[in-house]
C-alpha cells in the first residue's frame, strides 16, 4: 500500500508539470476532498456539488452530483469527504442535519446512496475511518456524534459530548479505535469507538470554539487544533495529560487545519473570516509562516493536500467560487520579505542587535563600534535542519553597551526633576530653568531660556513685570552663569566686568519699577541694553567665529533669524563650549536690535521661538521643546499645530515614564493643553483594594469585606471606619480620615498606628 502510493506519487509529480491553476465554480464552496489516487477532487457547498478531474493544465468538470428538479437541502453541504479506500464512495454533511452517502458506481444520474437523518441540527463534519471501509463518523451542532455502518440503515452508536456543538471529528490515523472531537465550548474529547457511554479523556484546548483538529499522519501522539481564539496548538497525546508542545498565533480565527505530508513539522491553515490566505507553518517557528498562498479573493473554506505522500500540491476551495491547485514552489515565502535584522536602543543608550547567526559569525573580526564596546551573544536557536527548506531558523542577539561616561542620561533625569514648569511668574521660571541647565553644563539650553525670558516678558504689563524684574535682578547671578562657563576659556577680569555691568542695571531698573508706572519704553530699553551689554562681552571673547557673526550683525533681523536656527549645525562637532557660545552671542545680538523698538510685542518672536522648538525637537531634545511649550503656554501655543504638540508631549511622557519619573510625567500631563494628552489621566482610574484582614479583593463596598465581615479600613487616629476619603501612607500603608491624618502629622512625624514609620504627608 505504502509502496504503491509512493509509486503514484512519483508518477503524478512527473505527470503534472507543476502548474498553479484554478477554475471558476458556479457557487461558493464549503469543503473539498480529494480521492485516493489524487486525480479527482470533489467540491461541495450550499449550491454546488461537483467532481473535477485534475489534469495537467486545468481542472475538468467530470460530474455534477446536484441533480433533480428541486434540489433539496440534503444537497446543501457543510462538509464532504471522499473515502480513502473505496474510490466510489463519498459522504456529505448537510446543513439541515442529514448525513448522505453517494456511490459513484451507480448507473443512474442520481448517485445518492444512503440518507441518515438522525441528527437534529446541522452536521458540521463527516469522517470515514481510514482503514475500515464501512465506518462513517459524523459530528453535529446538536452535540452528538454518530457512528454509521454503511451496511445498515441507521447509526450503530451515538456519542454524547455532554457539552456544546461538535465542530470537528477525526479518526486517528494510527490507533484503530480512537477518534478526536472538538467542541464549540473549547473542549477536545478523545473517544474509543467501542465505548459510546463515556469519553476517554477531555481537555480544554482553546477559549471559544475549536473549529478544527487534525491528527499527525506519522506521529501517533500529535493532534493539531485550531480555534476562534486565533491559535493553532499541537498537543502531545501520549502523555497522561495532553501537553501543548507547539503553539502558533495567527491573525484570524482558524477554520481548517491540515498537516503537510512528508514534512513532520509543517501544517497548513486557513481562516474563517477576514483573512483569505492559506498559510503553511513550521510549528517550530511560530512567528512567521513558512509559506503563504495568496490567490483567493474571499475566505478559503477548504484545504486539502492533493496526495497523502506528496508535499508539493495543495488544493483549496473558497467562498469566492474558485478552486485552486497551488504549487508549493509558487508559494510566497514571507521570510524572504521579513527584515532579517533587528535593532533597538535601550534606555541608557545600549544597543541590541539581532541578526542571522551566519551573518554575525562572519563579522566576528570586525568591531561594529570603535572604542571598546563589549558584546554579548545572548542565545542561539538550534541549528537548522538541513532537510528542511526553512533556512535561518537561528539568529543571534548582541547587546552593545555604551561607555558609561560618554552618553549617559543623567542630564535628562536631573533636568526633568529640577525644571519648574508652572507655579511662578514666567520670567522666574525661565531664569530658574536657565540656571538648572547651566549647572548641568548645557549652556545652549540655558541661554535659550534666558532669551525666552527676554523675548516674551510682557513689557506692557507693568504691575506684573515690575516684580519680575526685581527678582530677575536679584537673581542677577543667573546671566552671569554664562560667564562662569566662559571663564574656562576667558579671564577673570572679564568676569568682573560683566558683573560690574549688571549691577548698574540693577540700580537702574529698581527706580524704574518702583516709581514709574507708565514708562514702558524705558523699561524695555533697559532690558534690551542689559541683554546686549552682557552678550556683547560674550561675543568679544570669541575668536574664530567673531568675524562671521559680526558680518551678520548688520543684516536684517529676519535673515539672521533664519541663521539662528541654521548656524548650530555646522558647529556641532566642535568642542562643547566653542560650539555653543557663538550661537548665543550671535543670536542675541541679532534679536536685541528690535528690542529697541517699542512697537514689538512678544508675538513678534513667535516664529523664532517656533523654529527654535522644532530645532530642539529634531535634535532629539524633546524635553526642551515640551518644557518651553508649557512655560510659554498661551504665548506660543497657537503657533504650533496640535498634532506636532501632541507628538512632542507623547514622546516626552514616554521618555519620562521609561525613566520612572512618574511625578514629572504626571505634571506634564496635567499642564498640557492638548485634549489627547490630558485625557491620559482620565483613563484607568479604577483602584482595586484588598481587605486588610483577609487580604482578598474587596468587591462590593470600600469599607466592609464581604468575606471576613470585618471593617477593612479603620482610621489609625480615631479607630472608626473610614467612608469616603481615605488617605494612607504608601510606606507603611497605615492611614485614615484625611483630616485626622493631616492634624496628626502636624504634631508628629511618626505614623499614628505606632508602627514607627516616619510618614510623609505632602
Amino acid at each position: 500500500m505504502e509502496k504503491m502510493s509512493r509509486v503514484t506519487t512519483a508518477l503524478s509529480s512527473n505527470a503534472i508539470s507543476g502548474r498553479t491553476m484554478f477554475c471558476h465554480l458556479d457557487a461558493p464552496a464549503n469543503a473539498i476532498s480529494v480521492c485516493r489516487d489524487a486525480t479527482q477532487v470533489v467540491v461541495a457547498g450550499r449550491n454546488i456539488f461537483k467532481i473535477y478531474a485534475l489534469e495537467e493544465e486545468q481542472f475538468v468538470e467530470k460530474l455534477n452530483l446536484r441533480v433533480g428538479r428541486k434540489p433539496s437541502l440534503n444537497f446543501s453541504c457543510a462538509d464532504v469527504m471522499w473515502h480513502q479506500m473505496e474510490e466510489n464512495l463519498l459522504a456529505t454533511a448537510a446543513t439541515n442535519g442529514a448525513v448522505v452517502t453517494w456511490n459513484l458506481g451507480k448507473p443512474s444520474r442520481n448517485k445518492q446512496d444512503q440518507l441518515f437523518t438522525e441528527h437534529k441540527r446541522t452536521v458540521n463534519k463527516v469522517c470515514f475511518h481510514p482503514t475500515e471501509v464501512y465506518m462513517l463518523l459524523s459530528g453535529s451542532q446538536d452535540g452528538f456524534m454518530k457512528c454509521f455502518d454503511l451496511r445498515k440503515k441507521e447509526s450503530v452508536s451515538t456519542f454524547s459530548g455532554q457539552s456544546e456543538s461538535v465542530r470537528d471529528v477525526q479518526f486517528s490515523m494510527k490507533d484503530y479505535f480512537t477518534f478526536a472531537a472538538s467542541f464549540e465550548n473549547g473542549n477536545v474529547q478523545l473517544w474509543d469507538i467501542r465505548r459510546p457511554d463515556r469519553y476517554e479523556r477531555m481537555f480544554t484546548a482553546h477559549t471559544g470554539p475549536v473549529f478544527c483538529c487534525d491528527w499527525h499522519p506519522d506521529d501517533r501522539g500529535w493532534l493539531a487544533t485550531g480555534g476562534r481564539d486565533k491559535m493553532v496548538k499541537v498537543w502531545d497525546m501520549t502523555t497522561n495529560r495532553p501537553k501543548e508542545i507547539y503553539c502558533v498565533q495567527t491573525i484570524a480565527s482558524v477554520a481548517r487545519i491540515k498537516w503537510r505530508p512528508e514534512r513532520k513539522f509543517h501544517l497548513a491553515t486557513c481562516s474563517m473570516m477576514v483573512d483569505h490566505n492559506i498559510y503553511v507553518w513550521d510549528v517550530r517557528r511560530p512567528f512567521i509562516p513558512f509559506a503563504t498562498f495568496e490567490e483567493h479573493k474571499d475566505v478559503t473554506t477548504g484545504i486539502v493536500w492533493r496526495h497523502q505522500h506528496d508535499p508539493h500540491f495543495l488544493l483549496s476551495g473558497s467562498k469566492d467560487s474558485t478552486l485552486y491547485q497551488h504549487m508549493f514552489k509558487d508559494a510566497t515565502r514571507p521570510v524572504d520579505k521579513a527584515n532579517p535584522e533587528g535593532l533597538c536602543f535601550g534606555l541608557l543608550g545600549d544597543l541590541a542587535f539581532a541578526a542571522k547567526e551566519s551573518l554575525i559569525s562572519s563579522d566576528v573580526n570586525r568591531k561594529p563600534y570603535p572604542g571598546g564596546d563589549r558584546r554579548y551573544p545572548i542565545f542561539f536557536f538550534k541549528k537548522p535542519d538541513p532537510t528542511e527548506q526553512f533556512a535561518h531558523v537561528s539568529s543571534a542577539l548582541s547587546v552593545f553597551e555604551t561607555d558609561l561616561n560618554s552618553n549617559h542620561m543623567d542630564w535628562f533625569v536631573k533636568t526633568a526633576q529640577l525644571y519648574l514648569l508652572s507655579g511662578k511668574p514666567f520670567a522666574e521660571l525661565c531664569d530658574h530653568n536657565a540656571k538648572v541647565a547651566q549647572e548641568l553644563k548645557r549652556p545652549q539650553v540655558s541661554t535659550t531660556w534666558t532669551m525666552l525670558r527676554i523675548m516674551f516678558s510682557d513689557p506692557a504689563n507693568l504691575t506684573a513685570t515690575g516684580p519680575n524684574h526685581n527678582l530677575s535682578s536679584k537673581l542677577g547671578t543667573l546671566p552671569l552663569m554664562n560667564s562662569f562657563s566662559m571663564k574656562e576659556m576667558g579671564t577673570e577680569s572679564r568676569l568682573e566686568r560683566s558683573k560690574g555691568e549688571s549691577r548698574p542695571d540693577n540700580t537702574h531698573l529698581e527706580p524704574g519699577t518702583s516709581h514709574i508706572s507708565n514708562n514702558n519704553e524705558e523699561n524695555e530699553e533697559t532690558e534690551g541694553s542689559e541683554g546686549q551689554a552682557e552678550y556683547m562681552f560674550g561675543d568679544a571673547e570669541l575668536d574664530d567665529d567673531e568675524l562671521y557673526s559680526m558680518e551678520h550683525d548688520n543684516q536684517t533681523v529676519l535673515l539672521s533669524n533664519t541663521v539662528l536656527s541654521l548656524l548650530p549645525l555646522p558647529n556641532r562637532h566642535e568642542a562643547e563650549v566653542t560650539c555653543l557660545t557663538p550661537i548665543e552671542s550671535f543670536s542675541l545680538i541679532s534679536i536685541s536690535q528690535p528690542l529697541y523698538s517699542p512697537h514689538l510685542p512678544g508675538s513678534f518672536f513667535c516664529p523664532i521661538a517656533r523654529e527654535m522648538l522644532s530645532y530642539y525637537a529634531e535634535q532629539g531634545d524633546v524635553q526642551m521643546a515640551v518644557s518651553v511649550l508649557i512655560v510659554l503656554g498661551e504665548r506660543i501655543r497657537k503657533e504650533i499645530d496640535d498634532l506636532t504638540q501632541e507628538h512632542w508631549y507623547m514622546s516626552y511622557i514616554d521618555l519620562l515614564q521609561r525613566f520612572e519619573l512618574w511625578n514629572v510625567s504626571n505634571e506634564v500631563i496635567k499642564l498640557s493643553t492638548c485634549s489627547a494628552i490630558t485625557c491620559l489621566n482620565q483613563a484607568s482610574t479604577t483602584l482595586h483594594i484588598n481587605c486588610s484582614n483577609c487580604k482578598r479583593p474587596m468587591s462590593n463596598k470600600g469599607w466592609i469585606c464581604d468575606r471576613c465581615h470585618q471593617c477593612a479600613s479603620v482610621c489609625a487616629v480615631c479607630h472608626h471606619v473610614v467612608k469616603g476619603l481615605f488617605v494612607w501612607c504608601q510606606g507603611c500603608s497605615h492611614g485614615g480620615h484625611l483630616e485626622h491624618i493631616m492634624n496628626w502629622l502636624k504634631s508628629s512625624a511618626h505614623c499614628p498606628a505606632g508602627c514607627g514609620h516616619l510618614c510623609e504627608y505632602t
Binding site: K70, T95, N96, G97, V274, H276, D320, W703
Partner: protein
C-alpha cells in the same frame, strides 16, 4: 458596623412596608413615598413598569442577594438605578451580563468619544420614538460635555453623525436591505468618514439601543423620575395609574392568597406543554419531506406578515423625539412583502458564533466576547419552569421564539422545522412578538396581558429578554455581513 445595623433596619422597614401595603391599599402611596421611595426613584408612585405591579419588582431585589448586589454595583457605577435594570432584576444572571456590556459600550475604552456614543444612543432610541431612552441619554450626553445644539436635530450634529442616519434607519426597520455600498459610503476615505473600528462601535450601539427600545416598550418601562419629558406623549391616563389600579386589573389575583389562583382559564399552559412533548417524541414518525420543510419556512415568513401589529391607535411621534431622526415614515416592512427580492440569510453561511464574533472582536476587542456571553446567557437562560409547572425542558419553546424572530428578519436555519413555531406560539403571542420587535412603539398593555395569561411576570420579562437579544443578533448579523462584504 454602624452601617450594617442601619441596613438591617431598613430591610425590616421595607418588608414591613410591603406586607402592610398588600393589605392596606389606601396607604400605599404614602408608604411608598416614605419607605420604599428611598432607594428607588419613582414618578407618581407607580413603579418602574406600567405592566408589572411594582411590589413584584421590588420583592425580587430584596429576596435575592445577588440581584441586590448587582443593583448596588450598578448604582455605584452610574449614580442611578434605571427602571430597565429594576425590571431585569427578575433575571440577575442576565442583568449582570447586560450591565457589564452596556457599561463597557458607553463608558470604557473605545474608538468613539463619550458624547458621540450617547448621541448615537439617542439616534437609535429616537428611531423607535422611545422617549424613555432618549431622555436618559440626553442627560448623559449633556453631562459628558456634548454640545446642546446637536439636540435640536440631526441637522445640527456633525456631518459624520448625519451620515450615520441612513444606517440607523435601515438597521432599525429593514436590516436585510443593508449592502456593502452603505458601508462603503461611511468608510470611504474622506473628511467625515468613519474608521472600521468606529463603525463597529456605532453598529453595536445602534443595535443595542434598537433592541433595548423594544424591551422598554415591551415591558412598559416608566420614565425615570428625573426625566419628566417621557410623560408627555403617553396618554396621561396611563401614567397616572396608581399601583392599586394595576393590581386590580392584571396582577390582582397574584397578590392575594394563592399567587396562581385563577385556574379557570387554565389549560393554556398544559396544552403548550403537551404540544412540546408531542413534538419531542413524535418527531421521527411524522418526518416531513425536504420540500415540505423548505415551504414551511416560507409559509411562516408570509404568515408573520399577516399578523397585524397595529392596534388601530396610531402613535404620532412627538416633535420632541422625531427631530433626532429623518424620514419618520420609514418603518418596518415585512421581509416577504418587500418589493425587491432579497435572498434569505442562511445562518449556516453567516452566523454570529463563527463569523460575527470574529469580526467584532477583531475591530473592537473584548466586546465580541461580551456580546457572545450575553447572547448565550439569553438563549440558554432557563429555570425549567413554566407557570406553575416545574422541571420542564423549555429549550424547544425558547428556540421557537428565537427562530421566529429571526424568521421575521429573513434569517433561516436550515436545520429547523418551522412547523414547530405554529404549534408552539399562539396568535396573541405572535402579535405581541411582532409588535415588539418590528414597531415596539405600538405595544400596549392589552397586548402584554393577552398573551400567556397564566405565566408569571418574570416569565414574560424573560420572553422580552429573548426577543431583545434575538433582535439585536439579527440586526448585527446583517450589519456585520455588509461590513465583511465591504472588506473582502
Amino acid at each position: 458596623m454602624r452601617h450594617a445595623v442601619a441596613s438591617a433596619e431598613s430591610v425590616e422597614n421595607n418588608s414591613f412596608a410591603v406586607t402592610s401595603l398588600l393589605k392596606i391599599c389606601a396607604h400605599c402611596e404614602r408608604l411608598s413615598k416614605r419607605d420604599l421611595g428611598v432607594r428607588i426613584p419613582r414618578p407618581l408612585g407607580n413603579g418602574p413598569s406600567r405592566f408589572i405591579p411594582e411590589q413584584e419588582i421590588l420583592q425580587v431585589s430584596k429576596v435575592d442577594t445577588r440581584t441586590q448586589s448587582i443593583f448596588e454595583d450598578a448604582f455605584a457605577a452610574l449614580g442611578r438605578l434605571d427602571n430597565v435594570s429594576l425590571v431585569m432584576g427578575f433575571h440577575p444572571q442576565y442583568l449582570d451580563s447586560f450591565l457589564r456590556t452596556q457599561h463597557y459600550l458607553l463608558q470604557m475604552d473605545g474608538p468613539l468619544s463619550l458624547h458621540y456614543r450617547h448621541y448615537i444612543c439617542i439616534m437609535a432610541a429616537a428611531r423607535h420614538q422611545c422617549s424613555y431612552l432618549v431622555n436618559l441619554h440626553v442627560n448623559d450626553f449633556l453631562q459628558v460635555g456634548g454640545d446642546p445644539k446637536w439636540l435640536n436635530g440631526l441637522g445640527e450634529a456633525p456631518q459624520k453623525l448625519q451620515q450615520l442616519g441612513e444606517l440607523n434607519k435601515i438597521l432599525a426597520h429593514r436590516p436585510w436591505l443593508l449592502t456593502k455600498e452603505h458601508m462603503k459610503c461611511l468608510l470611504k476615505a474622506e473628511e467625515h468618514s468613519w474608521s472600521l473600528a468606529e463603525l463597529i462601535h456605532a453598529v453595536v450601539l445602534l443595535t443595542h439601543y434598537h433592541s433595548l427600545a423594544s424591551f422598554t416598550f415591551g415591558c412598559g418601562i416608566m420614565a425615570e423620575i428625573h426625566c419628566d419629558g417621557g410623560h408627555t406623549f403617553r396618554p396621561p391616563s396611563l401614567s397616572q395609574y396608581c399601583m392599586c389600579d394595576i393590581a386590580n386589573g392584571n396582577g390582582h389575583s397574584n397578590h392575594h392568597d394563592d399567587p396562581f389562583g385563577n385556574q379557570e382559564v387554565c389549560g393554556e399552559v398544559e396544552v403548550l406543554m403537551e404540544r412540546m412533548k408531542q413534538l419531542q417524541e413524535g418527531r421521527d414518525d411524522e418526518e416531513a419531506s425536504q420540500e415540505e420543510m423548505a415551504t414551511r419556512f416560507e409559509r411562516e415568513k408570509t404568515e408573520s406578515m399577516l399578523v397585524v401589529t397595529a392596534e388601530d391607535e396610531e402613535c404620532v411621534p412627538s416633535r420632541d423625539i422625531s427631530r433626532h431622526f429623518e424620514d419618520p415614515t420609514y418603518g418596518y416592512q415585512d421581509f416577504s412583502r418587500s418589493g425587491e427580492h432579497v435572498p434569505t440569510l442562511r445562518v449556516q453561511d453567516y452566523s454570529w458564533e463563527d463569523h460575527g464574533f470574529s469580526l467584532v472582536n477583531r475591530l473592537y476587542p473584548d466586546v465580541g466576547q461580551m456580546l457572545d456571553e450575553k447572547f448565550q446567557m439569553a438563549y440558554n437562560l432557563t429555570y425549567n419552569t413554566m407557570a406553575t409547572h416545574k422541571d420542564v425542558d423549555t429549550s424547544m419553546l425558547r428556540r421557537a421564539i428565537w427562530n421566529y424572530i429571526h424568521c421575521m428578519f429573513g434569517i433561516r436555519y436550515d436545520d429547523y422545522d418551522y412547523g414547530e413555531i405554529n404549534q408552539l406560539l399562539d396568535r396573541s403571542f405572535k402579535i405581541y412578538i411582532k409588535t415588539m420587535v418590528c414597531s415596539p412603539e405600538k405595544t400596549t398593555k392589552r397586548m402584554y396581558e393577552s398573551f400567556w395569561r397564566q405565566f408569571q411576570h418574570s416569565e414574560k420579562v424573560h420572553v422580552n429578554l429573548l426577543l431583545m437579544e434575538a433582535r439585536m443578533q439579527a440586526e448585527l448579523l446583517y450589519a456585520l455581513r455588509a461590513i465583511t462584504r465591504y472588506m473582502t
